[in-house]
């Protein structure tokens, strides 16, 4: 790549301010040495840099620093505050639902383990009622 090509590449990548160029290329940035075409590219890059410098933005750094400082200085949240109260994170309600579901499944297992026989048979119902009343032995 010739010096002129490199110069144009630098102008198109970093603009006209030599301080923004990689250090090893900064020696190329003397507009007095530019040929007419490079000078035109440099002028265009400079106009764009001037426009970009018009982007003025608000500064709330000290306010933010103060707020963050207060946050980290606050006493640590209790278990309830941290996990149970703020159910705003999307995964937290899911966790609660999963726990309820697990509890339901576990309870259902326990019910089956108790020997309960699920039946809609009419005769079975009569026998269970009789067993309950003590009329017959199981």
């Amino acid at each position: 790549m010739s010096e002129q090509q490199r110069l144009i590449q630098l102008l198109k990548l970093y603009g006209s301010d030599v301080d923004r160029w990689p250090e090893e290329d900064q020696h190329l940035g003397d507009p007095d040495m530019f040929d007419p075409f490079t000078l035109e590219v440099w002028q265009e890059a400079r106009r764009l840099d001037q426009r970009l410098s018009e982007d003025v933005i608000p500064n709330r750094s000290s306010e933010m620093r103060w707020r963050i400082h207060n946050l980290i200085s606050a006493p640590p949240a209790t278990f309830t505050e941290r996990w149970l109260l703020p159910l705003t994170e999307p995964w937290r309600p899911a966790l609660v639902h999963a726990l309820i579901l697990s509890l339901g499944l576990l309870t259902s297992d326990l019910v089956q383990d108790s020997g309960f026989v699920d039946s809609t048979d009419y005769d079975d119902a009569i026998v269970w009622a009789a067993q309950y009343l003590g009329d017959i032995q199981p």
Partner: protein
């Protein structure tokens, strides 16, 4: 060794030491890092999302992550500034995805402009010059916002934040050639819009 390179290395070592102190919840070290890095993270975030509210949330979350997860920072992989910019960038992208598109300028923009400003001189002495400054800022903001997300972010990191192409590559997981290509396209697009 070059004086400037040595200075940079000393600064990075010092920052790594401060991060180590932050990992054991040293508030003084944390405040020192906020003083050094919060303004630049704020500027980057604001230019990326153009919303005061979101900027505040992202900056706060970025520094809370530093406070809570300082031990995850590896100075061998990136400078602290690069690491923090990467966190802020990812948070912004998450919010972009959540809200799709953010408004280009906050409603209270004009009011904020009369406060202290970060760049340029605040010469808004008359309503007319304030209006003119507002108009110019809005034009540049609009042109920056119109850029595709990656072009915008790469340009902001290079032009406004002063990162090298290698550091930008680390933030975005891109090769240097890809960063250069995005940078050139961003400036070309801005030239078309603003000149």
């Amino acid at each position: 060794m070059d004086e400037r390179v040595r200075g940079t290395m000393d600064r990075q070592k010092e920052e790594a030491a401060l991060v180590k102190r932050v990992s054991s919840h040293d508030a003084d070290a944390f405040n020192e890092l906020m003083l050094r890095f919060l303004p630049m993270i704020e500027r980057y975030t604001f230019r990326l999302c153009r919303s005061t509210e979101i900027t505040e949330d992202v900056v706060q979350e970025t520094f809370l992550r530093l406070w809570q997860g300082a031990d995850r920072y590896d100075p061998a992989k990136a400078t602290l500034s690069t690491w923090l910019h990467r966190i802020a960038h990812n948070l912004c992208m998450d919010l972009f995805r959540k809200h799709q598109r953010l408004s280009p300028l906050p409603d209270d923009w004009e009011g904020e402009l009369s406060d202290s400003t970060v760049n340029g001189t605040d010469n808004a002495n008359t309503p007319q010059s304030a209006f003119e400054q507002h108009r110019k800022t809005a034009q540049v903001a609009e042109a920056l916002d119109a850029l595709p997300e990656r072009q915008r972010s790469v340009l902001l990191l290079s032009y406004f934040q002063g990162f090298s192409n290698q550091e930008i590559g680390t933030i975005h997981d891109l090769s240097i050639a890809a960063v250069e290509s995005l940078l050139a396209r961003a400036r070309r697009n801005l030239t078309k819009r603003l000149l």
